[in-house]
Structures are given as C-alpha cells and as structure tokens.
C-alpha cells in the first residue's frame, strides 16, 4: 500500500482552554471514502477545522510527502479541500466564478486563473452536474443545486484530501444520494475523502471505513459492518438500531432512543 495521503498522530485541538479534540490518530489512504460519525459535540467539526488549517492543532499532521513543518497555509490549501457545514454564498456571484474560488490556492496574487485552472473548473462543474448553471447567480439556485455548486468548488481544487462537514444536511433524499456518490467518485479518482455523516445508513452504504468520535476521542476505526453494528450504535449514540437487508447489502436503521 502506498504512503497515506494524510496521517494524524495524537492530534489535539484546544479552544478557549477546553480540549475539543483529544489525541486523535488515524490515516487516510488514496481512493478511500471515510465517514466521520459521532454524537453532537463529539468534536467532529473541530477535527475537520484542525485538519484544514482553520484551527491550530497540536500533535503530528503529515500530508503525503509533506511533514507538518513544511506546510504553509497555501501549500496545505492545495492539498486539503474543506467543505464547511451549511454552504453559504454571501454574494450573488456567477456559479462559474464561485467554482473558480476552489482554484484560489493555485492562483497568483491577483487571483488570475491559468488555462489549467479553467480546465479544473470546467471538469469540476461537469462532475457535479452544474455546468448548465454556469452563468446563473448562485443565490438563485435551489438548496440541492447550491450544494452541488459548493461541492464543485471543492472538487475544483483537485486536492488530494477532501474534508466535508455534513454535506448531505438539509438536502432531499435524491440530492443526499447524488452528493454522497459524487464524493465517493472523487475518492475513487485518487483522493481521500472524509465526510461527517449523521445518517448511519448513508455512512454504511457509501463509505469504506468509519471513524467514530465520542467526547473528543476516537472511539472506533473500522469497516462499517463492525463500526456501525447495533451494539456499537447503542453504546455510542444511545439508540436502538436494527440491520436491514436492502438487497444491496445490510444497513443499520435507527429505531428509537434507549
């Protein structure tokens, strides 16, 4: 197996004197799609913010061949793309211009785009299925369409590591599947994807591996069948779950709180 794209070793994030992420260690390999699950307040979002350079971290973070000491803000931004929760667009910019924001880590001081940048933007819009909106103002699109634009922006960076915070939140069932499928395709194309997912069924169906966080610590790192077994779901989430056969594999369904 080749060297991991991201290695976190005893990663710790403290905010206002409180330890939110506590000595978390894991690896992300090329081609894999990983779900990050855990109850509210477990530190999932803070972990992603730390990995993407928004929050300062302690411990060892290695990105591919780059050690932590080598990583400037821009170098990290080229390698790690981050999709925050609840995509926001503060200005009614054109969709193509929004997607092009994903190229900012590669652009020069004046934010000018090279032909390679334009190609990446075109490819990302095609992959996310937003090419037909290219000239529209992003704020005039529906929530599902906006989610795809936000995803296209992340894909346009062509980062080796993609971190997405609840990418399916407030989307209709069809768009939830579309977004998860897009992320998995990005992984299969050679990136490593880690997404915070609250829907355990989606996590089981789309992800190769599940990291479970609880109270700031890593409480599990396994294939979905083991990490999200009814016993583990009961222990971590306090929920009674059953496994149901969909015809495409077995998935957990949460039934009621314990």
């Amino acid at each position: 197996m080749s060297a991991p794209l991201l290695t976190a070793d005893a990663l710790t994030v403290r905010l206002g004197g409180r330890t939110i992420v506590d000595h978390v260690s894991f690896r992300l390999q090329r081609g894999e799609m990983v779900a990050l699950v855990g109850p509210n307040g477990a530190g999932k979002t803070t972990l992603l913010r730390g990995l993407s350079g928004v929050e300062a971290v302690q411990g060892q973070l290695t990105l591919g061949e780059l050690g932590r000491a080598d990583v400037s803000l821009l170098e990290r931004a080229k390698r790690v793309a981050y999709l925050p929760q609840g995509h926001v667009f503060h200005w009614p910019m054109q969709v193509a211009a929004v997607v092009a924001l994903g190229r900012l880590p590669h652009a020069d001081q004046f934010a000018r785009l090279s032909p390679a940048d334009h190609l990446a933007v075109t490819n990302a819009m095609a992959a996310a299925g937003v090419t037909q909106f290219a000239e529209r103002a992003v704020t005039t699109l529906s929530g599902g369409e906006q989610a795809r634009v936000a995803l296209a922006r992340v894909l346009a960076t062509e980062a080796k590591v993609i971190l997405a915070d609840e990418p399916t939140v407030s989307l209709d069932p069809r768009h939830q599947l579309v977004v998860m499928d897009l992320l998995r395709r990005a992984a299969r194309a050679g990136s490593a994807v880690m997404a915070v997912v609250h829907d355990l069924t989606l996590a089981t169906r789309f992800c190769d591996r599940v990291l479970v966080m609880d109270k700031g610590k890593l409480a599990g790192d396994d294939v979905p069948a083991i990490a999200l077994s009814p016993e583990r779901i009961a222990a971590i989430f306090g929920v009674d779950a059953v496994m149901v056969d969909t015809g495409e594999g077995r998935v957990p369904i949460a039934r009621h709180p314990l």
Partner: protein, 337 residues
C-alpha cells in the same frame, strides 16, 4: 466569465470618460464661470485672473474631490468585502465621525495649524480606533446587527466627544473650525492640503488592494476562506488599516463626508456580477465621480452660504441607505448573518 471581464473593462472605460468630463466641469464652475475652452487654457498657461482661479483654487479642489471620492468608494467596497455585507460603510461605523473628533481635538487644543501633519495623523488615529474596535467586536462571525450596533456606539461616542470640544472651545473660531469638520467641505482647500493627504490616500489604496484573493474567498465564509489559504488576521489588519488611513486623511483635509462608500459599490455591483474583488476599482472611480459631482452641485446652487458637500452626500446617501434597507429587509430579517 469572459463576458464579465468585457463588461468590467467597458464600465471602467465609461467611468474614465465620465471622470474626465466631471473634472473639466469642476474647473469651470464657481463664482466666475468659465467656458470649457477658457478653463483648459487657464489650466495650461496659468495666465491672468482665470489662471489664478483655475490653478490655485479650482484645481486643488477638483483633485481633492477625485482622490477623496476614490478613497471613500474603495473603503466602502473593501469593508463590504471583508464583512460580506453590502450595507457596510465607514460612516455607519463611526469612522469619519471619530476622525473628525480626533482632528478637531488636535486643532482646538493642540495649537497646530490646519495644514500640519498632526491633523491627518490624529484623523487616522481616530478612524483606527473606530474601525479597529468595530472589526474586533464583530469578531469571527458576528452578524450585521452586532456590527451596526457597535458602529452606532462608536459614532455616538465620537459625536459626544465633538460636542465636548464645542462645549469647551476656548474661542468661537475653534467652534467654527469644529463645525467645518462636522459638515465636510472642499471649499478653499489649497494644493498644500492635497500634498499632505495624497501619500496617505495612496497608502490606503495599496493596503485595500492587497487582499484581493481574500475578498473573493470570503464569499464562502471565513472557515472556507481560511481553508483556501487566506490569512484572515492579516486580511482584517490590512482592511482596517487601509480604511483608517484613507478615511482619516480624507477627514483631515475635507471634514466628514459620508455615504460615498455605501452608494458607489452598490451602483457597480451588478455590472461586475457581485464579484467582491472586481468591484473595487469601479467603486473607487464611481466614488470619485460622485464626490466631484456633489462638489460641482454645491457650487452651482445659488446660496448665500455655500452648501457643504458633506451635507449633500448625507442628504442623498441616507435616503439611499433607507431604500437599500427597505429592499433587502426580508434578507436582513431572515438571515442570522
């Protein structure tokens, strides 16, 4: 996106022509009206009383209107980019008011002449306190409500400070001087005023143009911008310093002139498709055009006392602000930001 580039270039060309026309009109208008040909002749040969009027009186005034207007338009666009809000404007944040209070403090009690370097420095310090304080209070993700309330507080405090100076003014001349800062005017400004302020204006333009990538990235919010490699602390520092230096120096030579920074970006935003980086240069040019036009208007209106240009920009700007609030009230109420 090519279309956007073409539209922006067309807009910039049109604005340049407009500015040239306004500059010539500004040299023509005044108690002694001149034809365009006479004004330009007087500007280039400087002969006779017309030469004196155009070169010594109207030229400094015109250049100040252009540079101050550009600085205010650019400051508004930059603040709006930083705070991701089309209603951000230095005057709503108390910046010119604080600069005016600090400048009048120096003049009233510091015993320095009005063209001393101490005046713009005091103005910049005043603006720095209000804009810096405001951005610090607004913090990471404070919404518009907190930002505007903090701005209101800074403006009110600057007003109280100015009232105190008026109250304690040792003589009526100082009170008159303070009133000048409050109203804002380009009347009787000399080339000395331009010389003292221009380096600060240029510094402010450079500071505000540096975070081009950041304005654009901030469209996606602060977290996404940071993950795209934007140094948020540096961006805030550059914008706060740029606005403070520009507005402080503008107030030091021309008094408090508001709302150019609100109106100018709004007029060009649609043409640049709301791109918060592309809006900067057109906003500066529109700001220059607005202030020059306003300054022409105060000279063209027949009145016993010349109207002050700051009064005109506020009279036009505040209803404009109200109209913007009215139009966007649904978004303003609905959004947590």
């Amino acid at each position: 996106m090519k279309a956007t580039g073409g539209r922006t270039i067309g807009l910039l060309a049109a604005l340049t022509v407009l500015l040239a026309a306004l500059a010539i009109i500004s040299l023509m208008v005044g108690p002694a009206a001149l034809s365009p040909r006479a004004a330009l002749a007087a500007l280039f040969n400087g002969e006779g009383p017309a030469g004196l009027i155009v070169r010594d009186i109207r030229l400094p005034r015109t250049l100040l209107a252009l540079t101050i207007g550009a600085t205010l338009g650019l400051s508004g666009a930059a603040l709006q980019g930083l705070l991701r809000n089309p209603l951000a404007e230095p005057a709503l944040f108390g910046a010119p008011q604080s600069a005016a209070a600090a400048a009048s403090l120096v003049i009233a009690f510091g015993l320095v002449p009005a063209t001393s370097i101490a005046v713009p420095v005091a103005g910049i310090a005043g603006a720095l306190v209000s804009v810096g304080g405001l951005v610090a209070i607004a913090g990471r993700r404070a919404g518009l409500t907190v930002t505007l309330l903090a701005g209101l507080a800074f403006a009110a405090f600057a007003g109280a400070l100015t009232a105190l100076i008026l109250n304690l003014a040792p003589n009526p001349f100082i009170a008159l001087e303070v009133v000048f800062w409050l109203l804002g005017s380009l009347e009787d400004r000399s080339i000395d005023h331009l010389v003292i302020a221009l380096p600060f204006f240029i510094a402010s333009w450079v500071l505000l143009a540096l975070p081009l990538r950041a304005y654009r990235a901030l469209t996606l919010g602060e977290d996404a911008a940071a993950s795209l490699g934007v140094n948020l602390a540096r961006t805030r520092l550059l914008v706060v310093a740029g606005v403070a230096v520009g507005v402080g120096a503008a107030v030091a030579v021309a008094g408090s002139i508001g709302f150019i920074g609100l109106v100018a970006p709004h007029l060009v935003r649609r043409t640049v498709q709301s791109d918060p980086a592309r809006v900067l240069l057109p906003s500066a040019l529109v700001g220059a055009a607005l202030l020059t036009a306003a300054d022409i208007a105060v000279r063209a209106v027949p009145a016993a006392n010349e109207l002050k240009v700051g009064v005109v920009t506020a009279l036009v700007g505040v209803p404009f602000f109200l109209a913007m609030i009215f139009r966007e009230r649904r978004t303003l109420e609905g959004s947590p930001a």
